[in-house]
C-alpha cells in the first residue's frame, strides 16, 4: 500500500476518535459543577438574577446535547469560543502558550534522547562496570526526585545563590538582560530554558537509558552481532549501526508517547518556573471549570497524541522491513 494512501486513511480514522473523546470530555466536564457558581463565589454582592444572566450569556442553560452540538459546530470551524475568564478567545490563549510549552518540551525530550543513546549503549557494553552503575544511579536519582523539589533546589542554587540563571518565565525583559550578562533575545530564551529543561530531562532520562540498555543487552547477544564482529566490522559501527537500530524500537515508542503527551505533560515544572505554558493553563482552567479553555486544550492534546501515534507507526515501518503498513 502506498504511504500517502495509508496516512490519509489513518487521518480519516482519527475523526470519529476525536469526536468520541470530545463527547466524553464534554459530558464529564458538565458533571463537575457549575462554572458560573465557581466564578462568582468570591463576589458576595452578586445576585442570582445576575448569575442567570451570565448562564444565558454563555448558553449554559440549554440542554447539554444542544450545547455540545454548538461547541462541535464551532470546533469544526476552528473556533474554541471565549474563555470564561478575561474574555479572550481560547484560540488566542492557546496560540501563545502552545509555542512556549512545545519549545520547553521538545528541547528536553530531544536532549534526553540524545543523551540516552550513548549512555544506554555504553552502560550495556560495560555492563556491571563502575560506569554502568554510575549511569544507572544518576538516572534513578533523576526519576525519584520530586519535580517541584528538584526545581526549587535548582532555583536556590543557580538563581538565588549564584545568580547565574533566571528562575521564572520564558523571557526576561530586555532591561534585565545585563543581570545575567545576556545581550540578545535568543540567548535570553536559552538561559530561561536551562533550569526547567534540566528538571524535565532528569525526570525522563532514566526511562530512556534503562530501555535502551535492556534492548542493547538483548541485541548484543545475537548471532548477527557476532557475525559482524567475525567479519571485521569496527566496534563503533557494530554498536551504533547494527545493534542500535535493533535496540531502539522501545525508545521510539516512548518518544512517541512523550511527544503526544507533551502539551499537558509538565504542569508542575511549569508552575515551579512560572513558565507561561499550556500545562499550567490547563490545570488552572480545570480548577476554575473554564469550559471553553478545558475543551480547547483537551482537543489539542487529543490531536497531538493521535498524530504522534501515527508518526510512531511510520517510524516502526521505516526501521523494520517486516512491518507492513496496512
Amino acid at each position: 500500500m502506498g504511504l500517502a494512501k495509508y496516512v490519509v486513511r489513518r487521518i480519516i480514522y482519527m475523526i470519529p476518535l476525536v469526536i468520541g473523546i470530545s463527547i466524553v470530555s464534554f459530558f464529564v466536564m458538565y458533571a463537575a459543577g457549575d462554572p458560573i457558581q465557581i466564578a462568582t463565589m468570591g463576589n458576595p454582592s452578586i445576585t442570582e438574577a445576575q448569575r442567570q444572566f451570565l448562564r444565558n450569556y454563555y448558553g449554559l442553560n440549554d440542554p447539554i446535547p444542544v450545547q455540545y452540538l454548538r461547541w462541535l459546530d464551532h470546533f469544526i470551524h476552528g473556533d474554541f469560543g471565549m474563555s470564561l475568564y478575561g474574555g479572550k478567545p481560547v484560540n488566542q490563549i492557546i496560540g501563545s502558550l502552545f509555542w512556549e510549552t512545545s519549545k520547553l518540551q521538545l528541547f528536553s525530550i530531544i536532549l534526553a534522547f540524545i543523551i540516552a543513546i550513548p549512555a544506554g549503549v555504553y552502560s550495556a557494553v560495560k555492563q556491571r562496570s563502575v560506569t554502568d552503575y554510575s549511569v544507572t544511579s544518576v538516572s534513578i536519582f533523576g526519576i525519584s526526585m520530586p519535580v517541584f523539589w528538584f526545581g526549587i533546589v535548582l532555583i536556590l542554587i543557580f538563581s538565588y545563590h549564584l545568580g547565574l540563571l533566571p528562575s521564572a518565565g520564558a523571557h526576561g525583559a530586555p532591561s534585565l538582560w545585563p543581570v545575567f550578562g545576556i545581550r540578545d533575545p535568543f540567548l535570553d530564551e536559552l538561559a530561561h530554558l536551562i533550569l526547567p529543561a534540566t528538571v524535565l530531562i532528569f525526570a525522563g532520562l532514566a526511562w530512556h537509558v534503562r530501555l535502551l540498555r535492556a534492548g542493547m543487552l538483548e541485541v548484543l547477544r545475537q548471532d548477527y552481532i557476532m557475525a559482524a564482529r567475525a567479519s571485521g566490522i569496527s566496534e563503533r559501527k557494530i554498536l551504533y549501526k547494527y545493534a542500535l537500530k535493533n535496540a531502539i524500537t522501545p525508545l521510539i515508542t516512548l518518544l512517541g508517547l512523550e511527544i503526544g503527551l507533551m502539551i499537558g505533560g509538565a504542569p508542575v515544572t511549569e508552575f515551579v518556573f512560572s513558565w507561561p505554558g499550556l500545562g499550567r493553563a490547563y490545570v488552572t482552567a480545570v480548577s476554575k471549570l473554564d469550559f471553553p479553555l478545558i475543551m480547547g486544550i483537551t482537543m489539542i492534546i487529543t490531536i497531538m497524541v493521535l498524530i504522534a501515534n501515527l508518526i510512531t507507526d511510520l517510524a516502526y515501518a521505516w526501521i523494520d522491513p517486516k512491518v507492513r503498513l496496512e
Partner: protein, 323 residues
Amino acid sequence: MNILEVEKLKTYFFTEAGVVKALDDISFSIPKGSTLGLVGESGSGKTVTAQSVLRIVPKPGKIVGGSIFFEGEDLLPKKEGEMRKFRGKKISLIFQDPTSSLNPLFTIGEQLGDIVVQHMKLKKSEAKEWVIKTLKLAKLPDPENAIHSYPHQFSGGMKQRICIARALLLSPKLLFADEPTTNLDVTIQAQIIALLKDLQRDLGMTLVMITHDMGIVADMCKWVVVLYAGNVMEIGPIDKIFEEPHPYTEALLKAIPRLDQTKELVFIPGNIPNLIDPPSGCKFHPRCQYAKEICKEKIPSLEDIGDGHFVSCHRWKELNNRG
C-alpha cells in the same frame, strides 16, 4: 606447512556458577589447503575453538592461555585493531543458523557491502559489484536484486548461501564452517555441502568443518580433530580414525544410524560432563566402556602413534594390540 597451529589453548568462561573450562589445554594444527573436521558432541568446545581463533569469544568467556599461530604469526598478543584485519579477511566463519546470523534490519547489500568497505576501502558502488560477484560464486540466484532485499525474504538455504558469500567476500585463507547444515532441510544440506566442497577446491582455501555428523566428516575431510569436554581426544587422518579410533570416537562412529540397521539406535550413555567440576583423570572415563582405575586417576596425554595419528587414551595401545 600448517596454516594454523593451536598450542595449549585455554578458553574459560567466568560465570557466576564458577569457571567453565570450555577449552582446557588443546593443541592441534591444520595443514594448508586441507579440509579438517572438528568433531564432538554439543558442548565439547567446537564453536569456542573457532571463536577463540578469531578472538571473538563472547563474555564472560576469555582466552586465558596458549598461543594461536596463523601462518606463523601469533594472534593472541595482537591488538584489537590489528586482529580486526584478520577477521573476515584472512579467517572467516560461517554460522550454524543463517537466519539468526543475518541482521534482520539491513539489506543484504548493506551488510555485505560494509565488510568489503571496511577491509578494502572501496567506494560503495565498487563494493556493490564486489558483493554481487561473490553472491554469484555462492550460486545465489539473481544477486542483482538480492542485494536490495532483506534476510526474511529468503529461504533457509538461500540465507546460508548468503552467509557463505559473506564469509568468502575477501577470499579468506582459512574458513570455519560451524555446523553449516544443521538448521537446513536434508535436500538443501547436500547442496550446501557440495557448494562448500567446490569452493574449497576452486579457491584453494583451508576449510574447517565443525560438525557432529561423522557422515559429513567421512565425505569431506582429510583430517579429523575429535574434541570432548574441552580436551582433544584424537587427531589423525580420516582413514586411521575410522580404522583404529579412540574409544570416544569409536562410540561416536557406532552412534551413526544405518539404513540396514534392524536393532535399536546406539547412543553414548550419559551426558557431556559439567565443565565447572569435570571428572578426574580422563574426562571421558565415566562414559567409556573400556575405563579402568588408571583412567579415573591420571589425565592421559596426547600421544603420537605414527602416521600423523595422535590419541589421548591410557588404554588405546592395549586395545589395538600395540605395545
